[in-house]
Symmetry: C2
Subunit: 323 residues, 2 copies
């Protein structure tokens, strides 16, 4: 089954979704951010997780949208905290309106996300909302760690991996678990799918770190080296700092956390240290490890292999891999 079959269901349902009317300053920002687009990967994972076990996706659609509304709520509030001017090339809500509007619209989006779960079978509602709430709190924890890391001197690789797990990966895992639970899968199968999604999420985030330094400017969409210029504590930087010899440490210290006079020179110098330490290969190895772990979890879900093809396809697409 083609991925567009699932995507079309999501697009159609999102187009029909209503968030509220008055005051306009509360609800127009919600329509605005929801209309900015994006890959809709989270509701897609929920539908694909359900489709492993059922052909009847109608009862899955609203909860699937709940994950997308929740994700956009986090973007809205994160953009305030990051003082980001743009989101998908358009002004962020706090820029187009103001911070007050962005805080309150986000708050209502979190409420609307919960509401989108309320039609699930009564006996599943409490367990589903327990898992959703746990995931939601973890996403907030991840964002808070991320903010903390900006001002903390020492961040370990383990702390960093835990941060991206919370901030990004657990929600992808939950989306798959949700689909499975709603389609009547066993908790064991739902758990394997959750771990599949979490591993894919970790791989995806590490790949994002990698592309910032080694990506093709034309296809990456952001300025290559942006993380280096802004001293972002990525997997690559933390690995380099952990493994650098005295000379390399001194070189990194010359650039990281210092006022930037020549951004291109800074990127070149830091990347040279990465190259000496084989940071690229090390990152690729870890990405591959998460990817293989993910596939092992998918293998353990006891449904016919052809049922898994769309899900495997999305994972490959997310990581832009051929197999």
């Amino acid at each position: 089954m083609d991925l567009s079959y699932f995507s079309n269901k999501i697009t159609a349902a999102l187009a029909q979704q209503r968030y509220g009317e008055a005051p306009e300053t509360l609800y127009e920002p919600i329509r605005y951010i929801m209309a900015l687009g994006g890959k809709r990967i989270r509701p897609l994972l929920t539908l694909l997780g359900a489709h492993l076990f059922t052909d009847d996706l109608d009862p899955i659609i609203k909860p699937a949208l709940g994950t997308e509304v929740f994700h956009n709520f986090t973007l809205l509030h994160d953009d305030i905290m990051d003082q980001a001017p743009l989101r998908r090339g358009q002004p962020t809500v706090h820029e187009k309106w103001n911070s007050t509007v962005a805080i309150l619209s986000g708050d209502v989006m979190l409420v609307r996300a919960y509401e989108l779960f309320l039609d699930v079978q009564p006996e599943l509602l409490a367990p589903v909302l327990r898992r959703f709430s746990q995931t939601a709190a973890e996403v907030c924890e991840g964002q808070q760690w991320d903010m903390n890391f900006e001002t903390e001197g020492q961040v370990t690789i383990e702390q960093y991996l835990d941060m991206i797990r919370l901030k990004t990966a657990v929600l992808l895992g939950f989306c798959l678990e949700l689909g499975a639970l709603l389609a009547g899968a066993s908790t064991e199968a739902a758990d394997h799918l959750r771990q599949f999604g979490t591993d894919i999420g970790l791989a995806f985030q590490l790949r994002d770190d990698l592309l910032d330094v080694y990506g093709d400017a034309a296809t990456f969409g952001k300025r290559v080296g942006g993380d280096i210029v802004s001293d972002k504590k990525t997997f690559l930087l933390l690995t380099a700092q952990a493994q650098a010899n005295a000379q390399q440490s001194a070189l990194l210290a010359q650039h990281i956390g210092q006022p930037v006079t020549d951004a291109e020179a800074k990127v070149r110098a830091v990347r040279a240290v990465y190259d000496e330490l084989n940071v690229r290969t090390q990152t690729e190895t870890l990405i591959n490890q998460y990817f293989q772990d993910a596939l092992q979890h998918l293998d353990r879900v006891n449904v016919p292999a052809e049922r898994k093809e769309p899900l495997r396809g999305v994972a490959l697409q997310l990581l832009e891999r051929e197999s």
Copy 2:
């Protein structure tokens, strides 16, 4: 039964409540704001609403705490928007930490509020959360109207009453409805209790407006005339503006929306217009009307009169009335 019987249950349960551990910057602000105190009126209303129909309050406690956590979430986020330096005499969370921490801690509090409802009987969970979500969205709508009114030239009395209904009253109504529903009351009884709570909430907010101008500085706790000095569009000001003759309008326009040179003179001048127009009596009349409407709804709840005594007592206490 004494009110302290119910208050003690709430205090004990709040003391045992855990919100999370790490990162500390996410969870310490939640413990901080929850420990600032307050009257805990919302969980008290939930317990009292339930106690009309049952003696078994144990299953009601956690959802009752959910209303208090939700209320404190709104305080936390409102304080950012209002740039308030103090809350109950202590630094607000965004002052003590920063706005990022205040936004994220608030977000997690909303999640924790939902979690506190998840133990209710499965068949009641969806209807309870639907009503909670509707109420939560309305509270956000009320806050957004309140923010909008600050910069809007024309606000009608009807718009103002609708704003305080959304921002303050509907949550009090929901708390009572929640208690009733969880105790197995009929939807008719739950609805009367909701309206009782909403009317009390409206009366309470109007009384707050009144006390700002005509209250006793020693017992009111805020600076008398603060609303007048800050040009706050209260019921009193909007009533005066709507009923003023040409001379009174000119007098109000001399002071409202103008730079303040002499705050005491401003309060005296505006209050003189209020006095001429009998705004105090008009406000007291409306408060009394809401109070009588509230009591009529309580009368219609079909339980023995003595069961209603604690609830009537809280309403009287909230409005500082003798009967």
